[in-house]
């Protein structure tokens, strides 16, 4: 096994993973900068970069609409949009740069850490429950979320909240983390026996990077889709 290069810093009694935080910050800055750049000089007739932005917005709005067909859906457009863009950029970041000084990795995919994905999933879950309470009131929310279609299913419904949360986070984490591990393993293989392994490892690495780009996009889509499905379970009346 190899060292994952995490460095823990204690601050205000909280422990921070430096690599994770720096990578997350870099991702956030990239996302904000790109989105702000794309949204400059908006026009009625879209051209160039505005088309890209509008395509992404249309895409995530489509995800929201397919999960929450009622008028409620329009409230979650921004959440779905930002989740999608953030996770997509986070997934690709580790494929483009791995910034390592000494033993410490400073930049990698933030989504290759379970803390990141658990935070995002937690946020989605909390938002979904708040939305449910907002929509139906507390009584209606409990009835709609936990006691339908029949009260007997109550324990399973409670359990489902946790499995939803855990699977949503760990699916994303597992995919991206595995991708990065394999990239590192191929890299180690390339270094192991000089030119003999370097040459066959090159195309292997390239193929796997391409595949990881694909996986990163798919996982971003899956995360957003499931997040919207979980929200829709809380805000839509179950038939």
């Amino acid at each position: 096994m190899f060292d994952d290069g995490s460095k823990i810093v204690k601050l205000f009694g909280l422990s921070f993973n430096v690599g994770n935080c720096v990578a997350g910050l870099v991702t956030a800055i990239i996302v904000c900068a790109v989105l702000i750049w794309l949204s400059r000089n908006l026009q009625m007739k879209p051209t160039g970069k505005q088309n890209i932005l509008e395509w992404i917005v249309d895409f995530t709005n489509g995800i929201v609409k397919s999960a929450i067909p009622s008028a409620q859906g329009s409230n979650y457009g921004l959440l779905a949009f930002l989740l999608f863009v953030f996770i997509f950029v986070a997934n690709q970041l580790g494929l483009i740069i791995q910034f390592v000084i000494g033993d410490v990795t400073y930049i990698k995919s933030p989504t290759a850490s379970p803390m990141t994905t658990l935070t995002l999933a937690f946020m989605v879950l909390v938002i979904s429950h708040i939305a449910g309470v907002n929509r139906f009131g507390f009584k209606g929310y409990v009835k709609n979320t936990f006691l339908s279609p029949m009260p007997v299913l109550f324990p399973i419904k409670i359990l489902e909240q946790f499995t939803n949360f855990i699977t949503l986070a760990l699916r994303l984490y597992g995919n991206i983390y595995a991708g990065e591990v394999l990239l590192k393993l191929v890299f180690q293989m390339a270094q192991s026996h000089g030119i003999l392994t370097f040459i066959p490892a090159m195309p292997l690495e390239m193929i796997w990077q391409g595949f990881s780009v694909f996986i990163g996009a798919i996982q971003a889509y899956v995360f957003v889709t499931l997040a919207m499905v979980y929200i829709s379970q809380k805000v839509e009346k179950e038939a």
């Binding site: 994770n20 910050l25 956030a28 930002l82 953030f86 803390m115 658990l118 995002l120």
Partner: protein, 173 residues
């Protein structure tokens, strides 16, 4: 390796949790203010504009249809009018032709009649002059015959005088 798992030897990194939560919320606000808001506003504006444009296009299409119908009827009217004008012109031409021919016929008739009259006149004149001549001749002949039935002397005298007269006539010529 182990610290990447949730319950590693360093414990749960709650700092990361808080960091991501706050960062995501800040990102949400920034993106909403700078990118999402303007873009969705623009898209909504475009949607309303497109629906308005479709409505106005529908209206314009209806108007154009009305105009086309009007133009069609006007065209038809003008066609019938043109046909009427041509018919009338033809009739006029026909009439004119007939009147010209009639006038010509008339003229020819009058000319013929005039010519006939003239000829008749000439003939009459010629006949009357011939009649006069004949009368004169017959009178002359009669006078000659009357003179001949006189005595031989007188007859001789008559002949002589006649010859003389002839001679005189010849002499005069």
């Amino acid at each position: 390796m182990y610290s990447t798992f949730l319950l590693g030897d360093a414990g749960v990194q709650w700092g990361d949790f808080l960091f991501y939560l706050i960062m995501f919320i800040i990102m949400l606000l920034i993106v909403k203010h700078f990118a999402w808001g303007p873009v969705t506003k623009m898209m909504d504006k475009r949607a309303t504009k497109i629906s308005n444009d479709i409505d106005s296009a529908e209206k314009a299409r209806k108007e154009a249809e009305g105009l086309a119908a009007k133009r069609q009827t006007a065209l038809e009217n003008s066609r019938t009018e043109a046909a009427g004008i041509i018919d009338r012109a033809k009739q006029n031409g026909e009439q004119q032709k007939a009147s010209i021919v009639n006038a010509a016929n008339e003229e020819v008739k009058t000319m013929k009649a005039n010519a006939k009259k003239d000829i008749q006149q000439e003939k009459q004149d010629a006949l009357s002059s011939v009649k006069n001549d004949v009368a004169e001749l017959s009178i002359e002949i009669a006078s000659k015959i009357i003179q001949k039935e006189l005595t031989p002397e007188s007859q001789k005298e008559l002949v002589d005088s006649y010859i003389e007269g002839l001679g005189k006539q010849n002499g005069n010529r």
